[in-house]
Amino acid sequence: MKIIKNIGLIIFLMGLTIFAALPVVGTYSLSPKQFGDFVGQKGIKSDLFISDIQENVVGQNFEGMFSFAPKVTHALDAANAQHRKNKEYKKIIYTKPHDMAAELGKISGSGFIVENKGLMWFLTFGLGIIGALMFILPNVVLLGKKGIKNNGIYHENATNRGWIAWMVFIFLVSFYLILYFRSEYAVNWTYLVDPISQSLSGNLAGQWFVYGFMYCVVMVVMAVRMYIKYRHNMYQMVRTTSVLFFQIVFAFLIPEIMVRLQMPYYDFKNAFPLDYDFFFQWNLKSLLNSGGIGLFILVWGIVLTVVIVPVMVYFFGKRWYCSWVCGCGGLAETLGDPYRQHSSKSLFSWKVERWLIHGVLLFALVMTGFTLYGFFAETGTVLGIKVQSIMDTYSFLIGAVFAGVIGTGFYPIFGNRVWCRFGCPLAAYLGFVQRFKSRFRITTNGGQCISCGNCSTYCEQGIDVRAYAQKGENIVRSSCVGCGVCSAVCPRGVLKLENGPEQGRINPTEILLGNDPDLMELVNRK
């Protein structure tokens, strides 16, 4: 069994290595016809850019994106600068330089990778999946009898912030930086999933399709790990199935199929303000121009945030969204599970958390106010501030850096819920409802707590669960996403997630159950 695991690890690393090498290899050559078609399709009016590319790129062979991309980005920057100087605003190209390089790169790719998409898919995704499963499946036997299997987590390099964890950190951060800021280097990855993308939406894959597909693959593989690790715990099994379902069907398949049906791309479970660009002008316009389905989405999006989300939180707590439905939560609960113990439980972290997450919520709401005002007043400037610049700032700081690079990249170091805990504006909103008007709580079982600290250690949201449990108090915290792991790891059966009457949900107790009944009453009445 150990041998199978090790072979699996080697196969996985082979797949990963090939995947990681792809951004820097490959041949790119742009034919005059390809470029001509491209210019026509995009409606590029910049003669400077066109002639620059024709002179420096078209008809030449480039080895690796490193030599190709700078030509495009320089050409675009130079052309736009000249046009601005000449006040030729109609000629300015609004596509971002790196996106332009990615788009041109996508059509100019040639050679082995482009000609062998299926084989290359197998050598990257295929090997990765096979290797990972070979690494994970033997645990059915190796982990022994079902039960809590946390042995060695703080001895293993990978799960105790050792060098492996740091390598994973570097890999994830680099991956997100490429996705968000240097998409041209993702071009080779897009070839791997072109056939899949074409079969779904009919279009070739962009970097976001790669991301979406990979997200699903990673979640499925790591869900298998969850199923094995928590096979004694039905709550974890059901919950894992739920996040998997919503990711694959709602976040991945339905939007792609909608595109094939000429409908807007929309993830029906992605609620505002996590879906922060829902009220952006371009989105509203696109929805309003999409007929019945567009209107339906518009109404659904608003009803989801204003009615469905809070009502569901009232009945079930924010877990119904954060650890049962949400994509970010889904990745955190599968890929992130081995890192859940790294969220800081200090009081200081809690203070930081409250400032940050509520700050982001405020930012999202103010931004949305500006965009909506701008939309209805048909102006690009509100209170002397350019709406576009607010949106760009949010998209960059919160949407890309916080949610993506930090949110997932920092899993191995700061735990798997960095974004959900410190940044997600939807989580902040759900948290208010959960804290002040909900039937959900984690019940502490009388006086049974022995203060061992397993619950706090494995709380991914950094809640010091033990601090409540050892006082006999129920846990009612806005940040709790209801993953249920505190209850699972408790050796004494102290914690239970449940939805019950609001009365008695918060139960201050000074003297614990089990001691002198009169004393308990005397002290707790005060």
Binding site: G144, K145, K146, G147, I148, N150, N151, G152, I153, Y154, H155, E156, H232, N233, M234, Y235, M237, V238, S346, L347, T443, N445, G446, G447, Q448, I450, S451, C452, G453, N454, S456, T457, R466, A467, Q470, G484, S487, A488, V489, P491, R492, G493, K496, L497, E498, G500, P501, Q503, G504, E510, I511, L512, L513, G514, N515, D516, P517, D518, L519, M520
Partner: protein
């Protein structure tokens, strides 16, 4: 300002300190030579197993003590002069107190086995013991086999720890079934099976006779009363604990096995109290033992003594007995009293249900004449403390407990529920026709 000095920073001493601080402004000092900060003793096993780091066993952050003006003194108390109200420390210093709380806990029992002081022979109680396991049994290369002596809760925890690093374990148990002085036979039998499932070499009805050290004074083997010699590099002595009170000899404080206290937790000397594992009641309270070495009772005594010290004289009146443990993968909870066949009265009758495949079972004890519910042991099913506490107070009969058993279930959502099976078996055995009632929030929370 009155100076309250507490010897021992375990759960009893720390609970007392916290509650004194809640109730008063007195000066509080806690003395310990074990660790600088309070940690949860029950969690030491998880540090060795790699579930947690030692820092995770500390329930309060380091700033907590200063903020709450609780002085922590790292020192070893050698003696008490109660006339001068002074403690003598090992480093020669003295500490004066106005009132003293002794909360020094336990030490593992050693029964005078030859070789019991060899290197690699120890109990599992203190932080130092944890360090010892890490030193003598870090992996299965250094420690090719470990022997554990004594089949109680700490013994099985130590076995689980060592197995987590794939160290072969031989487990010597004096009784002919695991912990059957406490557990009824059906449960004890189930745990025997579970121990074997974990590849632990369980030897029932077997006693240690001698520990054999090598030329460096390190354990190399043990002998049993069956004549077996078992080679090993580590021996865990887990045959119970006894009060850690050697430093009190000749202090004038009355001691028996522990520090003798009355119901107010006062010793024979004014202004000196004893709580937790080291305290011994003059007379046992109800079915309890005079010395209760249990986490929960230590905590309760801490809560109680704080009231007395702060002017609200309060007797230690523990409510209904409850306890919990975990045997490898099987959780155990108990509410009220369920005695083993070896210890129970004739009037105590048992109803036992065990799952046909899983390691799940319950035993309900009731009075043979009145059918009054006496207590319940559950394995692999979590139960609601408050519900059983209430039923015990209300002196419900066993039929009532069966009928409303679903109210008491505390298993996580979506878990398989066994009340119907349990009640069906009860009906068959008792000739009743009880239908279990659906779980009711109204009953659980007593909402009219």
């Amino acid at each position: 300002m009155e100076h309250i000095v507490i010897i021992g920073n375990g759960i009893s001493g720390v609970t007392a300190a916290r509650h004194i601080r809640k109730l008063s402004d007195k000066r509080i000092s806690i003395i310990s030579a074990e660790t600088d900060f309070f940690f949860s003793r029950t969690a030491l096993m998880y540090v060795y197993m790699g579930h947690m780091k030692f820092e995770h066993t500390q329930p309060y952050e380091d700033w907590f003590w200063k903020k709450n003006r609780i002085d922590l003194v790292n020192a070893y108390v050698e003696g008490i002069d109660h006339k001068e109200k002074t403690l003598r420390l090992k480093d020669g210093a003295d500490i004066r107190y106005d009132r003293l709380i002794i909360a020094t806990g336990s030490k593992p029992n050693k029964f005078g086995w030859p070789g019991q002081d060899s290197k690699g022979v120890q109990g599992l109680y203190s932080k130092q013991d944890l360090d010892g396991v890490e030193k003598y049994a870090p992996n299965n290369k250094t420690c090719k086999r470990a022997v554990i002596v004594g089949g109680g809760l700490i013994g099985i925890e130590l076995a689980e720890m060592l197995r987590s690093r794939n160290i072969p374990v031989t487990f010597l148990v004096r009784e002919n079934s695991f912990w059957n002085g406490v557990l009824p036979s059906g449960e004890s039998q189930m745990i025997n099976e579970h121990i074997l499932e974990h590849h632990i070499d369980l030897r029932l009805a077997t006693n240690l006779t001698e520990i054999l050290p090598d030329e460096h004074g390190r354990v190399k083997a043990i002998k049993t009363d069956k004549g077996d010699v078992i080679e090993c590099e580590f021996v865990g002595l887990t045959a119970g604990v006894s009060p850690n009170i050697d430093f009190l000899k000749d202090s004038g404080i009355e001691i028996g096995r522990g520090v003798k206290v009355n119901r107010l937790l006062e010793t024979n000397i004014t202004d000196i109290y004893a709580i937790g594992d080291c305290a011994e009641q003059h007379e046992a309270i109800g079915n309890r033992r005079p010395i209760e070495a249990v986490w929960y009772t230590g905590r309760m005594m801490g809560e109680t003594v704080a009231q007395t010290i702060c002017g609200n004289k309060t007797e230690y009146k523990p409510g209904h007995w409850f306890n919990s443990a975990k045997f490898l993968d099987v959780e155990y909870q108990t509410y009220g009293w369920v005695f083993s066949e070896r210890t129970k009265k004739d009037s105590e009758k048992h109803f036992h249900w065990r799952h046909p495949k899983e390691k799940i079972c319950i035993t309900v004890a009731y009075h043979s004449d009145t059918n009054k519910f006496l207590g319940i042991n559950t394995f692999g099913i979590r139960m609601r403390h408050e519900i059983f506490d209430r039923w015990l107070t209300e002196e419900r009969n066993v039929e009532y407990v069966m009928e409303y058993l679903k109210d008491a279930n505390f298993d996580p959502e979506f878990y398989a529920q066994y009340e119907t099976d349990i009640v069906a078996k009860f009906n068959t055995e008792m000739g009743t026709s009880i239908t279990p009632k659906k779980k009711s929030w109204k009953r659980i929370f007593k909402i009219a």
